[in-house]
């Protein structure tokens, strides 16, 4: 139990760190650790597959994407961002949201019953019950990948479209 507390607290700490530091590189780093701690949290309350997916796929892929973007654009040297007035407004908004949600959580008595960790057959469930969602997800991912590639490649025009060769008529 104490483990879950520790993980949750650490995760929130790293999350706050990542949005508060001014150095973008460190922000990405603490984002990655926050996601990894989230994976640890999943380990305790969710099927193992989810922990694995969260850790191996989501964390690494998003960190790699962010890191790659940073490398491509501003470079890896530290980039500072000045403290601006919007932070106060932002904290106000965050506080309002947090208050709303905490009030809801605290005042509702959820009808809970502890279930065992339904890890067995999660893969089968995923492919049988949710096969349509999986298919939709595949389409979404494929379009995202395609769109990203196209967006990045467009202005440079380095894509060579295949053209008919004039001398391909050998028998």
């Amino acid at each position: 139990m104490i483990l879950i507390y520790a993980v949750v607290v650490l995760m929130l700490l790293t999350a706050v760190t990542s949005v508060v530091v001014r150095n973008t590189l460190w922000a990405i780093g603490s984002f990655a650790s926050s996601m990894a701690l989230l994976a640890l949290l999943y380990l305790t309350i969710a099927p193992f597959l989810l922990f694995a997916a969260q850790l191996l796929v989501f964390t690494t892929v998003s960190s790699a994407l962010l890191f790659g973007l940073l490398r491509q654009t501003t470079g890896l040297e530290s980039s500072q961002e000045p403290f601006s007035r919007e932070w106060i407004i932002g904290s106000a908004v965050a506080a309002a949201l947090l208050a709303l949600l905490v009030v809801v959580v605290a005042t509702t008595s959820w009808p809970v019953r502890a279930t065992e960790n339904a890890a067995a057959g999660f893969g089968a469930t995923l492919t049988n019950m949710y096969v349509v969602s999986l298919a939709v997800l595949v389409v979404i991912l494929a379009s995202a990948a395609l769109g990203t590639g196209l967006l990045l490649a467009a202005p440079r025009g380095s894509m060579k479209s295949p053209a008919p060769r004039p001398k391909g008529t050998r028998r």
Partner: protein
Amino acid sequence: MNAGLNLILTASAALFAVGAFALVARRSAVLMLIGTQFMFFAGSIAFVAFARFGLGAAHASAGAAVAIFAGATAVAELAVGLAMAALIYREHRSLAVDADRG
């Protein structure tokens, strides 16, 4: 285990608030996108928590399935958003989403 559920739901709410803060307060496109990622995963945590503590899903692991879908969608959105950020960088030589100009 009401305490466990409340704990995780509070964590989810806090993570969501952190994400909202990043989205509103920061100027760099990268950090705003990090904020959206936090918000996505906060929702996933909530789903997983409710599925784990037995609030009557059709399947015991339905919450985890939603978490996987939401996570994958988040990564897809991140990819596209980062591509747009790269384009912004090409135009303006800086990653600041210039909110002052609309």
